[in-house]
Symmetry: C2
Subunit: 306 residues, 2 copies
DNA sequence: GAAATAGATAAGATCACCTTATCTTTCGGA
DNA sequence: TCCGAAAGATAAGGTGATCTTATCTATTTC
């Protein structure tokens, strides 16, 4: 890392640019206005670039100054926040979790309360992000993704899920006589990001069944969550991911409608950037999340043909 | 803002904690190891909290140190990045645009190349985020959202869109005789975040038509983009937002299938946090984006009954 | 136009920061 | 087991970045 310019000077510049006046910056930093003026001049000399236009004893930000201000403001605000946390009697650990949007909405937000309950005070933020996320510009402690993106950070495959045909118990009888032929199919639109997820067409191929148009009949839902709800309501057979339907299977709200399953092409992966790896809460959440995923996937996989 | 501790001391702590040794930190900062030791001790005294355990001339991070390290690393990295940009001969302005995921994928990413082409070198990142986004923790320059969230930042309503029944020109003849009764309807699943968007049921109510079950027949798509594609393919009539279908209407790929339209409940809003408002590129993008939105919405609204 | 305000500059003070030197403890070979 | 190398703490003292006070000029405000 190349040597930084005077941090104090940058701080003075940030305060002056943000408040719009050297005098206000001086007050904020509890130093004299002359000191602010000198600090800023020092930075300008070190950087070889004007940050303020000096028009007749009046300071107006240059374009360079305007462009850099927000970034410095964010950086110094973060440092100030760290200082406040350190100075307080006790601080709440912070945990930033990023998962695909489909997981953030239902599955994980339902379960995460259990983690919170068992881990006391912490500021947890759960975000739904599409891949790729930027570990460089955002402070993400742990990222769950479908498939191994992020080879440049420590990444582990945690589980490979599969999809299963599931339906309400009341519909299950019909599958004995003629397979799935008589039941409406619930199609899940995975959306633009999930184009590689298996469809009913793929499933019928795997099962060795000739389908013609049959694989297209039925309802459709715009999320795996919605598809499951339709299936639980008894409206048809959904092709559901194990991790999402495990709970409903355990509760008896759903049953498997056929033994054939279909593995997903990619495993779920967990990425923890080096900077966050040593933190207790990150490690604890990692353990917990892997446990939840493995449990859900394996409990849903009992007694199927992969 | 309360006075920060020694910035130089925090920098020394960050380097030492990240590299794992005072000696390495000293090398990185081009100072002596003794200086690092003293700087860190100074910060510990100012904060009233140990950052390293000193076990027999060996330094091991405390829990507080481990927790704070990633945040400081990010902050100092950003400062370093600012310094590099400032020191270089020319810097590329950075622009972080956040819009709802549905807009990030199709509509905006198609058009934004025109903005890029007319604005030269810039590092633009276009992100699809659900509301609410955090202006406090993320450096977002401009946010487009459906409805006025973010009252705490300068926000302007830019346009109120409506939905229109649209279909391929080849289907349009059928609407003369019996309205929409004989055409398949394409339903758009707005997903969990767009629950307040109008449905075909709402549209028929507004048109004063008794529908019974008719409003439920037809296909469905999981995104407005997919619904439009189905309509263009001639598979039915979609209820499309003006902003999304304007281009297809202009190109003649779609025509309006009925005059009745339905206004969205919320306007589209643009939020620009104070810190970014003065930047040229932000202002330019704001102008451009408002123009694109207004143009798309108004061109799609020609000759309809609101 | 006078007073108040904002910034620049000069000169000198001081304190934060840095170095060198020395000591202790640990660790990795031979 | 012993030795040398490496890591960190501490002391003493140097130096330069940072800060203050004082003074000056231009601008804004009443």
């Amino acid at each position: 890392m190349v040597a930084l310019p005077s941090l104090r000077g940058l701080q003075a510049f940030e305060a002056a640019a943000r408040t719009g006046s050297f005098a206000a910056a001086a007050e904020e930093l509890s130093i004299s206005a002359a000191a602010v003026s000198q600090l800023i001049r020092t930075v300008e000399e070190q950087m070889g670039r004007q940050l303020f236009h000096r028009i007749n004893r009046r300071a107006v930000l240059t374009e360079a100054g305007v462009e850099m201000l927000p970034r410095l403001t964010m950086a110094f605000r973060e440092i100030g926040s760290v200082a406040r946390d350190l100075g307080g009697d006790a601080f709440r650990p912070r945990l930033v979790i990023s998962v695909p949007p489909s997981m953030a909405m239902g599955w994980l937000s339902e379960r995460i309360v259990r983690f919170v309950a068992s881990h006391g005070a912490a500021d947890i933020s759960l975000r739904g992000d599409d891949d790729p996320v930027s570990f460089d510009h955002e402070l993400i402690d742990i990222r769950l993704s479908y498939g191994p993106h992020y080879r440049e950070h420590p990444t582990e495959e945690i589980v490979r899920d599969a999809v299963y045909p599931v339906c309400a118990p009341t519909l299950a009888g019909a599958t004995r006589s003629d397979g799935l032929a008589s039941l409406p199919l619930i199609h899940t639109d995975w959306g633009p990001t999930g184009a590689s997820f298996p469809s009913w067409r793929n499933w019928f191929e795997a099962a060795g069944v000739e389908t013609g148009r049959a694989a297209q009949r039925g309802l459709s839902a715009n999320s795996s969550r919605a598809a499951l709800d339709l299936a639980i309501s008894g409206l048809g057979v959904a092709l559901a991911q194990g991790i999402y339907c495990a709970q409903a299977l355990e509760d008896g709200k759903l049953v498997r409608a056929a033994a054939q399953s279909l593995e997903l092409r990619q495993p779920y992966c967990l990425t923890i950037p080096e900077r966050s790896a040593r933190r207790d809460i990150v490690g604890a959440f990692r353990e917990w999340l892997i446990g939840e995923c493995v449990h859900a996937v394996s409990s849903s996989a009992l007694g199927t043909n992969k």
